[in-house]
Subunit: 190 residues, 2 copies
DNA sequence: GTCTATACGTTGATAGAC
DNA sequence: GTCTATCAACGTATAGAC
């Protein structure tokens, strides 16, 4: 059994049931092992979790960076819209997104500070990517001659609200909300 | 020891550490009892939780309703702005808000369906309150002759994003975000 | 109502045979 | 690397003395 498969199983369970709600026995069971055998691959439950969290931030950042590079030349409208749709599309199938939403919001109590520190760094990096595109948009006069910072912050808030809806409302409700929010947002920045 | 005080202690702990992260021993300890004594007041841990959740939805709805009645005649701008500031003001001191955010997003796994059912009903009720005011605003020409429904949904999304920021960013970051989001939102609906 | 005592499963984790 | 055996600590919950 590879450590990778164990982590994948853990990712799904953590995303679905939270850290405290997931036991090592469940994780082991999912990959057909006894819980004791997990200790050949990880030195503790925290170890599994921290590894997953770290990897997740790397993966998510790379995804955003690649997205920016691929779509930088697209019109602002398309760029932002595609970026948003990305979330609703992925949420259903991608446990990693669920994992990071859930465990960033509400990390295990004893790891709170550590998680938050990583989270802030990640958000800052991602916001910086979007800011680049918004500054370009201001220069191109694709949007109101307003603070690109404001548009960035509001856009990241928009993503947050969609994620919230995905978490408790599911995809259909999120799509409805996305449409309303997007209308107002685009109106607001142009 | 009154059941009320026990529930208050449980509320704070659930809000801070989640359902699985909070033990009956901690709750009891907080009010100076042994964990076994809690069973004189509640028949299970779930019982405490469900009571808190039910009460919370009632209290929050009453709060919103009263707010609407008190400020219905205010200009739309003031009405919405005050409503938003309410969240950032309360979040620091009011554990009930934290409780409902956390436990609605991520309820204990075995109570997921039950919690979600109550949550949807609550959200629907609150959205209906806001919709009333937005329809009035359209009639008053306080905003663009657009769908009041869209403005309502977008506003509730706005609240969500502020709550997210309150959860993981704290009050200061939430204030910054609020300002940016509000600028774009108001621009977007007028 | 609160306590002590207790039951009993589950938790994360370690030791050692194979 | 995986297993069995084992552990101490903690989880929720019950019974019964006071």
């Amino acid at each position: 059994m590879s450590a990778l498969l164990i982590k994948e199983a853990a990712l799904v369970l953590f995303a679905e049931k939270g850290y405290d709600g997931t036991s090592l026995a469940e994780i082991a069971d999912e990959v057909g092992l006894k819980k004791q055998s997990l200790y050949s691959h990880f030195k503790s439950k925290d170890d599994i979790f921290i590894q997953l969290l770290t990897e997740t931030f790397v993966i998510e950042y790379e995804r955003e960076k690649e997205f920016l590079q691929t779509h930088f030349a697209d019109p602002l409208f398309d760029y932002l819209w595609k970026s948003l749709r990305n979330y609703t599309e992925r949420y259903q199938t991608d446990s990693r997104l669920k994992f990071w939403l859930r465990l960033s919001f509400f990390p295990p109590y004893h790891l709170h500070d550590q998680v938050m520190q990583s989270l802030y760094a990640h958000i800052q990096q991602v916001d910086a990517l979007y800011l680049q595109r918004f500054e370009q948009a201001v220069a191109n006069k694709e949007m109101k001659e307003e603070n690109a910072q404001t548009a960035t912050i509001a856009f990241s808030a928009l993503i947050d609200s969609i994620c919230v809806e995905l978490v408790y409302g599911g995809k259909e409700k999120a799509e409805t909300k996305l449409q309303a929010v997007w209308t107002v947002y685009w109106n607001g920045i142009t």
